[in-house]
Amino acid sequence: MRKHQITPYIFIAPAILVFSVFYIYPLMYMGYLSFHSWNFISVEKPFVGLDNYIRIFSDPIFYETVWNTLKYAFFTVALIVIIAIPLAIWLNQKGRIFTAAQGAVFSPHIISLVSVSMIWMWIMDVDYGLLNWIVSLFGVKSVGWLTNPNVAMYSLIFVSVWKSLGYYTLIIIAALQSIPKDLYEAAAIDKASKWRVFSKITFPMLTPTIFFISIIALINSIQVFETIDIMTGGGPINSTTTLVYYIYEEGFNNFHLGTASAAGMVLLFILMLLTILYFKVLSNRVHYQ
């Protein structure tokens, strides 16, 4: 009997070990650091209580950062969901053009994010960027895509949607193809209009997938870093500083590991909250068979 009780634990031990070393331990250590003061170099890490938390919560830039992060995440997820569904439906047709188009839409996903950022930085350059040249053809004055504090965030959102849209579209195409064909045949015999077929059959059948991609996109976009680091460096005037970028700045530029960890804890908390909220609110509306 005893042997039986131990065996399962032996089986999962390697996984638990890896998980502990690479996930649990850093997480705990971050929690620990958030109550201490450390600058990477000093041997001492004096306990400072809630000081780090008080410091970030009394920093107006931190609030701006959280706001920026939420704004970025909201628009990215919303745009991805709104564009990916019709795009997937359009691409999910037979024919060479559509196969080629699927490849084209997917290709940004396999390019490194660093290259993508560089390319778009060039395209969006105020003075000699492609985008401003195109815009000028329509008689519009140069736009500071990455230098205007009112625009920069939306430029970043655009790049991130452009980069990941194909990936999410492909997931939706796969979901579309797994909808049984005879449902559409039954609907044809039932004389359903195209709109009714979409709203009553296709869309409801897609909801689990849409739920899945929106939560993945949400988590990914809250953790955005590379594009910001390369394209704007959090500027202009902190208008594109998001939480992860803030943490990076605090930790690796200002060597305030304590406050960086405290911000990290806040990020973790926000992600948890959003995920729970998401499941609570949306899972009631999602159809699982």
């Binding site: 004389k191 359903a192 009553k200």
Partner: protein, 376 residues
Amino acid sequence: MAGIKIKNVSKTYQNTNERVPKRIHIFKKKIKENTRNVQVIDKINLDIKDGSFTVLVGPSGCGKSTMLRMIAGLEDITEGEVWVGDKLVNHMSPGDRNISMVFQNYALYPTMTVRQNIEFSLENIKVPKVERDRMVKDVAETVGLMEYLDTKPGKLSGGQRQRVALARAIVKRPDVYIFDEPLSNLDAKLRAEMRTELIQMHEKLKTTFIYVTHDQVEAMSMADEIVLMNRGEIMQIGSPVDIYNDPKNIFVAQFMGTPSMNVMPIGELINRLEPHFQHVSYFGFRPEKGILLGRSILHSYEIEIASKILTREILGAETIYKIENKYGVQNIKTTETHYSLGEEVNLCLSLDSLYYFDHDEQRVYADKTVLEAGIS
């Protein structure tokens, strides 16, 4: 209500396999083969009477579903005409043909409740809510689904889903009902129940039913008219009794009945036919027409063949023996259970239980040949 006329209908699937690179010469012949079109229905003519219960039956892949789907409008008609009532429907979309179809796996809309499933087609043609509610209630009562109206199909049993599919079909009051193997996902007991219910439903509705199955028991028990198909062609059309008792060829004779008809080369039995039946190549008899008798018993059957028992299967009410004799191996269905393996018996047949077929496996009517009895 409407009958259906099928005139010279053919169906060819374009089997293009365009991905093979065309410039490679060696593959050229292969490509030709791959791109060859497959004809699955070959110039079929069929007249389905208004209000009849017509069962299309045949082996897997013979084109039954294709036939149905062409009638329903889910598949293009390559050649020929399909008429529903007095309308030529070749180019009509499925929704305009006023047909209901019950699919093998029901094809219920999984995201909708039972009620929504049933009223979906009514909403599509904008039936007012009050009327819709009444119609849904009526059919739900007919098929016994009242308690489940607000349940989703995923939570229902196979039999209940089947009923939802039926309700969805009935509520439209179509001219024609089409069923593609609707009972094949149910267990044996439920299938028998649903069979009876479908027969009653047909009697009540008096609408044309076209029903596809590969189960001959379903075909025999439900049909007014059986259409027996093989490889895209109709082998025989007739009532169940006709098809069973008067098969026009070996295929039909062997398709209906379990075990199937014993068909053997005519052998020296040819000598006992009149001279102008020399073209008969095969004879056959139904397993239940063969009588097994002990060697020592005196009897006076027209044909007696010395045989040996090979196997015995006791099925309860009846027993199936496999026997061997100079004509080959045959199945015999009888109520006798006492013959043991290896036992020597006589297979006794009366002449009028024999069927004859020619070289092309077509039936030859040689039944009334007057022959004297004798042991062969």
